[in-house]
Amino acid sequence: MPYTAEKPPPARTSEELRATIPGWGVDLDPRDRPSVPREQPSTHLTGAHWDFPERQPEKWPRERSVEHKFLTPVFGTATPPRGLSGGIRKAAYRYSEGRTAHWLLLVLADRVDAQESHLRSFLTLRPDNPITQTGVLSELRHHPIRSRFGVKRTDLVHQSLDPVVVAGPWVLAGAAVYVVGRRVLRSLRGLMR
């Protein structure tokens, strides 16, 4: 079809579609859809019986965005910041959400948190177990070959990097411990001669 003002004719008419697809056109009127218009008065629909909610008690200095005027009246209480990662998180919240530093510090804190938590777990009766926690044992019962081969999946290339992401920090940490330990031993031997 040349580039003209005509809209290309549909492959199937509305009548054909209505006859073959259950519910075709039941929301045909664009003005009669739940999120149209985008903003619409709705306080009468919510069940709220307050103008401003009561405030939830703040049990520790809750980190908050500097873009907020005050601590929101309700907030989550899961996993308060702790350790080195907690310090980095508190530093991150000194920057607004508009600053890259805010997000990169939080990403850094997440990585530090994971390593701190792994180390802390070795002081407990239930240390981290990468075999069970990655769920990799499920492979055997869920068609690992048929799910991956003979199908045109593009994600297999980067899936092969997943073990590197999981094990990489441990390999690096082990190498660092080895290098530092060897240097310390050499220094001690030097002092003893």
């Binding site: 989550g76 948190d113 499920s138 980067h158």
Partner: protein, 382 residues
Amino acid sequence: MRAMVYRGPYKVRVEDKAPPPIEHPNDAIVRVTLGAICGSDLHLYHGMMPDTRVGMTFGHEFIGVVEQVGSSVQSLKPGDRVMVPFNIFCGTCYFCARGLYSNCHNVNPNATAVGGIYGYSHTCGGYDGGQAELVRVPFADVGPTVIPDWMDDEDAVMLTDACPTGYFGAQLGDIVEGDVVVVFGAGPVGLFAAKSAWLMGAGRVVVIDHLEYRLEKARTFAHAETFNFTEYDDIVVHLKKVTDHLGADVVIDAVGAEADGSFLQHVTTAKLKLQGGSPVALNWAIDSVRKGGTVSVVGAYGPLFSAVKFGDALNKGLTLRMNQCPVKRQWPRLFEHVRNGYLKPRDLVTHRIPLEHIAEGYHIFSSKLDGCIKPLVVPDGY
């Protein structure tokens, strides 16, 4: 209580955790009877969402029975069977008052750019989620709804996020009768978006993915034409060819942060965490929609920057529409559609994972084993 706990990227386990207390007079404690793992939970699982802390319980799709209510709760009582929207919202702030429940200003101290979401990092408020036996539900008079007697539990849990988000994505496209609608992503949200596009009068619905078993579902569940992008040198050119070189009227991005199709984009995002999301699907959407068309984004992206082709969006005069879905606003209409048989949410459930085996559930879903489209999470005893 038993609860899923995040232990770092790609690692979760089930632990004994203290039951959640009532923290606010309008809280309820809900005993979870059925939960789910969402595709967006995989972003947390892969360590992509900033401020995802070790020890957090994920899960923003769940239904259950009210166990306990705070002193100001009026509309629920212990024993009520409830479905809980993934959004936590107060009902009266500037944004809730205008129906933007997903953008509530009173529930997330950690960020102003996003509202509160159960089990979705501290960036979304620091609330534990529903992949557990018990969960704290703030604003019990506002969010949850008693499940109608006629509704199946699996339909109800799918209505807490995936189904309404897909339906909302189609609405954001401002579809008019006869429109050509392309949906990127044949996960649950994309499949619901494709199905919903027909309800809104689309003349043609095309779904794009690289997982053949999901495209098969798009053909049977959503009556869509499908294209596997791995079979084409350039999926954008192919979409132009099949739309008379005009492009689609509406394109819906139902993929989000971990889009495949570009190794560089995926690795810089999912593995190196240098972008808020891999914008492959979003860029394909911008490229394949017609000039003056609409791109609807309901795939989840993180708060960091992403390499999005805004120049082409500008030059084509596109309308870009997006938001987290205000779930409760969709429910009355979606309840009708489910009851009338126009939508069958539970048809997308492929796996039912016991809570105790949730690490395996995450691996199966993340690795796309065994034809996994939607895994539900079943606490012990249900």
